[in-house]
């Protein structure tokens, strides 16, 4: 099952990723290949197997309610595209 370039552009838009034409081309091939692999997985008969989101039988992983140190403001904002004082600055959003 092959994806179209339009579909890849749309997915990139939904994921808020900016792709140039070369990248769209590249990911169209790669994503189509991934879909093909899943196509193969789809053929496995899973009728009697309950769906799961966990790969292990682990349950009840909890932690005590204890405060640990946070990052410094500089570390928090290190990846921010823009800042104002100690705030992250972003484009206007409408509530």
């Amino acid at each position: 099952m092959a994806l179209s370039k339009e579909e890849v552009s749309r997915i990139a838009e939904l994921a808020r990723l900016k792709l140039d034409d070369g990248e769209v081309e590249k990911f169209t091939t790669q994503l189509s290949y991934i879909l093909e692999q899943f196509q193969i997985l789809q053929e496995v008969d899973t009728t009697d197997i309950p769906p799961t989101a966990q790969a292990t039988p682990i349950k009840n992983v909890l932690r005590k309610d204890e405060v640990k140190p946070s990052l410094s403001v500089e570390e928090v904002l290190a990846n921010a595209p823009d800042r104002e004082g100690d705030f992250l600055r972003i484009n206007t959003v409408l509530g």
Binding site: P69, V73, D86, F87, I90, N91
Partner: protein, 481 residues
């Protein structure tokens, strides 16, 4: 045509844990400088692993039990995906199809007319970052993101804005008794969204359901829902279609369209792969059940039986946990006094003058400058006949403003009650001389004229005269005349 109103409420409560829901950052962000309570988990950086705060789970189980919910043996977290910059990760960790508690109930209204509101679910999730909107751009403070947030959803069993308010007051009271949240609406630790629609009485069909947001006080909820039921009624009568939409409450007294709901959000919920499910054992649940403190309803009943208070006084006193604690401190301070009389006296002061002083100073009883022992001493001064009720009210007001001791205030201002006949005789002589009209009214068979004369005596003594003694002395003088 007669309409009925159908309301369901969704309440978000910040839990009073020390750390956040899935990481060790401090959850106490009030007053913190921006972005100082933030770690890689809060930011959703690649490779991080969130871990569930056991105290937040316990608080949610406590709440679900107090609301008579059944607790799911196996519960889990899910990702709720949406694009809005209040989420760093692009999703909120919430609970979708296996909430911690389901199918509970909350009873509202007075004992003789209880109404049951069904609780759909109680689940646990994380709070989001705070956005500050500026001209042309927005600022993000991530401190709040990840604070444990409990959501309590009611069935649409509520039929009026009054019932909605009663529900919220009762719910807040239970949360405060449980000690799981400060549950303060103005500070944002208790938030309410409402779904409201109207329908002709007797019909089970629902019209367009409107979600109302942005209500920051109990009064705002009441006003917004009253406004909205009237707006919908008018729209229905004039043949308009009531659209399914989200509206925001504005303090000037109206709701305005925020967004239409034609395009339902697709949150693409899926199980959170980073968090293994929770299996809550019967033993654990029973342990939490046993640890539940006394709840408002039980305390109300106890106040009636132990202190002989009326159901109404008990209800008002126990709704606010801090008020009920204050009341019991007063009772414990003076065990020598006869219980029902003394309890009634304390209750009257707390529900009357005391609450009045709190309200005018806009302070919470927790921060009252008048501690229980001081109020007790004030009441003792009255009981011992040292001051009159009228004086006591003034003294209380001064205790509120200066934080002083009632006895010191009474001494300093010379407010001791005049219970000495000789001292009062002088005043009475003057009052009789200055009010010949009232004197002759009394003598011509209008006994109520004496009340006016007693009032004059009180006025001249600035409230210090013992009113019974004054009335006695006055009537004796008048008989003689």
């Amino acid at each position: 045509m007669e309409f009925e109103t159908v309301i369901g409420l969704e309440v978000h409560v910040q839990l009073s844990t020390r750390s956040k829901m899935f990481c060790g950052c401090s959850a106490d962000y009030a007053g913190a400088s921006p972005n100082t309570h933030v770690c890689p988990v809060c930011l959703g950086l690649p490779g991080v692993l969130p871990t569930i705060n056991e105290e937040a789970v316990r608080y949610t189980v406590m709440t679900a039990l107090a609301l008579n919910c059944s607790i799911l043996e196996e519960t889990k977290f899910d990702r709720k995906n949406y694009f809005y910059p209040d989420l760093m990760k692009g999703y909120q960790i919430s609970q979708y199809d296996a909430p911690i508690g389901k199918k509970g109930r909350l009873e509202i209204g007075p004992a003789e007319a209880k109404k049951r509101v069904a609780i759909t679910r109680v689940h646990l999730e994380e709070d989001v970052a705070k956005l500050l909107h500026r001209d042309g751009y927005s600022l993000v403070d991530v401190n709040r993101s990840g604070v444990p947030l409990m959501e309590i959803v009611s069935e649409p069993d509520i039929r009026s804005p009054e019932e909605a308010r009663d529900y919220l007051v009762k719910l807040r009271s239970i949360l405060q008794y449980l000690g799981v949240s400060t549950a303060n609406m103005e500070e944002g630790s208790f938030r309410c969204d409402a779904n409201i629609s109207i329908r002709p009485v007797g019909s089970s069909e629902l019209m367009g359901k409107v979600e109302v947001k942005n209500m920051n006080s109990f009064r705002a909820v009441y006003r917004a829902l009253s406004y909205e039921e009237e707006r919908q009624r008018k729209a229905f009568i004039s043949g308009e279609k009531i659209a399914q939409e989200t509206r925001g409450w504005l303090e000037e007294g109206i709701t305005v369209l925020q967004r239409s709901k034609e395009y339902a959000h697709d949150y693409r919920y899926f199980p959170e792969p980073d968090l293994p499910p929770l299996a809550l054992s019967a033993e654990y649940i029973n342990g939490v059940r046993k640890s539940l403190p006394e709840l408002p309803e039980a305390r109300q009943k106890r106040f009636i039986t132990d202190y002989g208070l009326s159901p109404y006084d008990s209800m008002v006193l126990t709704t606010d946990k801090a008020m009920a604690d204050y009341f019991e401190s007063c009772i414990d301070l003076d065990k020598s006094k006869p219980v029902p009389e003394y309890a009634k006296e304390v209750a009257n002061w707390l529900l009357g003058e005391f609450s009045h002083n709190l309200a005018s100073a806009e302070i919470n009883i927790d921060n009252s400058p008048v501690a229980p022992d001081k109020l007790c001493r004030l009441i003792s001064l009255i009981d011992e006949g040292k001051i009159t009720m009228a004086v006591a009210k003034d003294v209380l007001a001064e205790m509120f403003s200066s934080g002083g001791d009632p006895y010191d205030i009474v001494q300093a201002r010379g407010l001791l009650q005049i219970s000495n006949s000789a001292e009062l005789e002088e005043v009475i002589k003057e009052v009789l001389a200055n009010n010949p009209q009232a004197v002759s009214d009394y003598q011509q068979g209008k006994p109520q004229a004496i009340k006016f004369l007693v009032g004059q005596v009180m006025k001249r003594t600035k409230g210090r005269a013992n009113p019974n003694l004054a009335a006695d002395l006055l009537s004796k003088k008048l008989e003689v005349k």
